[in-house]
């Protein structure tokens, strides 16, 4: 049994060492600047070529950019909603609604990414293309962030919306767990001082749970960073850096999913594995941080009763 427990460490080390071994070629060739070097200007159009495996241009910059933009944007959409949902479920919700709502969020957290992607391709993207993107570029086009030059409806915004839908259940269920861990005496004390319900939630619950809520958000970020299939299906898969959020892009996970099976050379394959290694290290750090923050809040709490 101890062996089985230790095997979990072994798996992490094995993944790490295998990925390091197989990405060695790209590492030796490009070094650390793989992740932020500029592209090579194209011979004909003059556009920046960041990623052109056939002609030997390898820069992970557009993928790092795409991953960051789509994940942060998705947090922007999902965090307020998830925290609002958690507040409603723990502090306001009538008892008979609590079970079903918790069940629905649990269910949605378990639905595979490919199915969200399927939905996004056939429902979300047409919706964005027909209504949302034109409206965004009409009213917010002056910021330069929503220049609508993309007739497909794919792009960073589409990826961010589907990511938001996917990480919402995770963030909200963890936030709920953290908020339930705040002792009842805290709530009663604040209420006894004559606070309204919101003041009680703000000073009694949120202030005590804030570290854990940050942890929940970071955990959501970790999921968003590594999410592959749904993003691959809607982000547009263009290795470019665009200021416009409606433009096609590409993320670290999506480029691996798209190109790995048909990699043109050993360097190409090795570069893709290096992107995977970066993803692995980053998500390990992000997840460890998140778990640690959540644990800080819930460690004193009584064991969860099912």
């Amino acid at each position: 049994m101890l062996l089985c427990g230790l095997s979990i460490f072994a798996i992490v080390l094995l993944i790490l060492s295998e990925l390091m071994l197989r990405s060695g070629m790209a590492w030796h060739k490009f070094g650390f600047k793989f992740f932020f070097q500029q592209g090579i200007p194209d011979r004909y159009s003059g556009q920046m070529n960041y990623w052109d495996p056939v002609n030997g241009a390898f820069s992970a910059l557009p993928f790092v950019y795409g991953t960051l933009v789509s994940s942060l944007l998705s947090l922007l959409i999902s965090v307020p909603l998830a925290v609002g949902l958690a507040i409603f479920l723990t502090e306001m919700c009538p008892r008979f609604l609590r079970g079903p709502l918790a069940f629905i969020t649990e269910l949605l957290a378990a639905i595979p990414s490919i199915i969200y992607g399927l939905w996004a391709v056939f429902v979300l993207v047409p919706l964005l293309r027909e209504y949302v993107n034109p409206a965004l570029s009409k009213y917010l086009g002056w910021t330069g962030l929503f220049a609508d030059t993309n007739p497909t409806g794919l792009g960073y915004v589409a990826a961010a919306v589907i990511l938001a839908v996917m990480i919402l259940p995770i963030i909200s269920s963890l936030t709920r767990e953290v908020m339930t861990a705040v002792p009842h005496s805290q709530r009663e004390a604040v209420l006894a001082l004559g606070a309204t319900r919101w003041e009680m939630i703000r000073t009694g619950v949120l202030r005590n749970a804030r570290i854990g809520i940050v942890g929940a958000v970071i955990l959501g970020l970790g999921r968003a960073l590594g999410e592959t299939m749904a993003v691959t299906m809607v982000i547009g898969n263009t290795p470019a850096i665009s200021k416009s959020l409606l433009a096609n892009g590409s993320s670290m996970a999506s480029v691996i999913a798209n190109e790995f099976a048909e990699a043109v050379s050993d360097v190409h394959r090795s570069a893709l594995i290096e992107i995977g290694l970066a993803l692995f290290v980053v998500t390990i750090i992000v997840n460890a941080l998140a778990r640690f923050l959540v644990w800080m809040v819930t460690r004193g709490a009584p064991a969860r009763v099912h």
């Binding site: 197989r22 909603l81 299939m229």
Partner: protein, 289 residues
């Protein structure tokens, strides 16, 4: 003056309270309604696309209508079988260690922490790991490598649910077993684990249903295969892979099959999640305690 100022203040506070309550309800509606809409849409679309051919026919060449996903269903079965053979025993073992042998020790805490972190590692990275571990040395794609990737992904989930279920077994039962003179391993295996077994089994089902929908780790391990194959040493088709290919393709008939495939996966997930919920809410251990 003082009273009107304080009454204004209390009105302001009450108003803030109402506004926040409204916002929380709004957030809930904004979350739940679209999510339920997505879910119902998937169910309806899938139900209207599903027929018997889906289960018994192989794919037809692109552009032709009809056909099914029989090979993908069987392929998923093979992959999940391999994954379960790897993931379930190791996962249960790790769970037993966490709950029974290592409880409270630093090492167990470290194992639990690592399992949680491993749970958050992107599935595509697991695919890369299985690729470099098995596909490169073997020089060909295989169902086996895909199964290994999925199996590794099952371990943390199985371990954590097993631990959770074992912790629900009352200490009295352990004490009674030891009091009768059973050795520790005997008491763990025949008493504690047996008492918690309905919970452990449903936990395994949940892990199974989760990896059943995983696509990313299979793209460059199992690869996909347009023909009937059950050989673990060759490329194999899987349901989620097939959904991916069909959804991104241009053919109406393939889209229909993709929806049907999605429905099959969803039904699997719903079954597993509700079973887990049923078992835990009923109290796994009613019969025993």
């Amino acid at each position: 003056m003082a009273t009107s100022a304080s009454s204004f203040r209390s009105k302001y506070r009450a108003a803030t309270d109402h506004v926040v309550t409204g916002l929380a309800i709004l957030a809930t509606v904004l979350v739940v309604v679209p999510l339920v809409a997505i879910f119902v849409y998937l169910l309806l679309k899938g139900a209207s696309s599903l027929n018997l051919d889906f289960f018994i026919k192989n794919p037809v060449p692109e552009g032709e209508s009809g056909g099914g996903m029989a090979n993908a269903i069987v392929g998923s079965g093979v992959l999940l079988g391999i994954a379960s053979l790897i993931g379930i025993p190791i996962g249960i073992g790790a769970g037993i260690y966490l709950a029974e042998y290592g409880r409270g020790t630093k090492l167990a805490n470290a194992v639990r922490f690592t399992a949680d972190v491993l749970n958050g590692v992107p599935s595509i990275v697991m695919g890369l790991a299985a690729y470099s571990l098995i596909v490169i040395p073997q020089h060909h794609f295989s169902a086996f490598s895909g199964g290994v990737a999925l199996g590794i992904m099952m371990i943390p989930t199985v371990a954590r649910t097993t631990e959770e279920m074992l912790l629900m077994v009352p200490n009295m039962i352990r004490e009674a077993a030891l009091g009768l003179g059973l050795s520790n391993w005997r008491s763990v295996l025949s008493i504690t684990v047996k008492t918690a077994s309905p919970g452990i089994i449903t936990g395994c089902m949940l892990a199974f249903a989760r990896v059943a929908g995983e696509t990313a780790p299979l793209i460059f391990t199992a690869l996909g295969n347009a023909f009937w194959s059950v050989n673990p040493n060759r490329e194999i088709e899987a349901l989620p892979l097939q959904i991916w290919v069909y959804a991104t393709g241009p053919y109406e008939d393939q889209h229909r099959l993709a929806w049907a495939g999605a429905l099959v996966l969803i039904v699997l997930i719903v079954l597993a999640v509700s079973l887990v919920r049923y078992v835990t809410s009923r109290g796994v251990l009613k019969g025993a305690s």
